[in-house]
């Protein structure tokens, strides 16, 4: 199999080849969307190991139901929807657990002024996102971190565009408050 050809092949062709048992073709689908799924799951959950598991689960679920994918929506949108649903379920399960609290800030090192060099953007964003309610977090992650349009975000979350815009506005406001309080930049 010509790898150059696979790299330039569109999603539906790769799916067709994967359905015929070509795992190299499927691995190209994973490679193509890995960065997007990483952005969504890590930003939603914060914990890289859990996000990795959910990322794997996203692609495995797609692999199992690939024959039902007819290309009505973009593959990226489809995978993003699966990933966001899995992360929301994960957050719900964790918040129900008696061992954890809804806002568990212990997972993150609180950025401080003294140690400005090490206050990398990931730490600050993860800490701030964690403080957002999942319904606001999902909109902010899809729209501003992953870069989906408002319409695509609405499609992924199956929400009206108006709801997306209002959640986005409240989420940004809340993030601004949190980042301002941190006073690290």
């Amino acid at each position: 199999m010509d790898l150059k050809y696979l790299k330039s092949t569109d999603d539906l062709k790769l799916i067709e080849k994967s359905l015929a048992g070509d795992m190299v073709a499927f691995s190209y689908i994973v490679r193509r969307y890995e960065a997007m799924i990483a952005k969504i799951t890590i930003s939603m959950i914060g914990n890289k190991d859990d996000a990795d598991d959910i990322g794997q689960e996203t692609f495995i679920r797609f692999y199992r139901s690939m024959d039902k994918f007819k290309g009505e929506s973009q593959l990226g949108t489809y995978l993003a929807r699966t990933a966001i649903n899995l992360t929301l379920n994960h957050i719900k399960k964790r918040s129900k657990s008696w061992l954890t609290t809804t806002n568990n800030y212990d997972d993150y090192e609180l950025p401080s002024k003294e140690n400005e060099e090490s206050n990398d953007i990931t730490n600050i964003i993860n800490y701030s996102l964690k403080a957002l309610e999942p319904k606001f977090r999902s909109v902010v992650v899809l729209r501003h971190i992953q870069g989906f349009s408002t319409k695509e975000t609405a499609d992924i979350l199956r929400l009206p565009q108006g709801t997306v815009l209002s959640r986005l506005s409240r989420g940004q406001e809340k993030l601004k408050e949190i980042i301002t309080k941190l006073d690290v930049l």
Partner: protein, 99 residues
């Protein structure tokens, strides 16, 4: 906190957030798919082989039972199969009265 006094700066900060999975993510996905597929195949084979042996043993037991019934009673009637060919319902009652 002068630098971050409006929403645009927050949005700019968010757009610079670019987390990634550890190396080898694709291989981990493919490995999991392969291991799950081989598990399903093995489980299918195991169930088939268990079912086959149970079915063969069951058929053998039924043939043996019929053969024994025929040897004992010389017939395949339902009474013979149930073991009540020479059974009289009054017998236990009379036996208990005698006792």
């Amino acid at each position: 906190m002068n630098k971050l006094n409006n929403k645009e700066k927050v949005i700019e900060l968010l757009s610079r957030h670019n987390p990634s999975f550890n190396d080898g993510f694709t291989d981990r996905v493919i490995d999991r798919i392969n291991s799950e597929s081989s598990y399903i195949e093995n489980t299918d084979t195991d169930f088939y082989s268990i079912f086959r042996w149970i079915a063969i043993s069951g058929v053998a037991a039924i043939i043996l039972l019929l053969f024994t019934v025929y040897l004992t009673d010389g017939t395949f009637s339902s009474d013979a199969i149930y073991g009540i060919l020479n059974y009289s319902p009054d017998e236990p009652l009379l036996a208990s009265l005698d006792y």
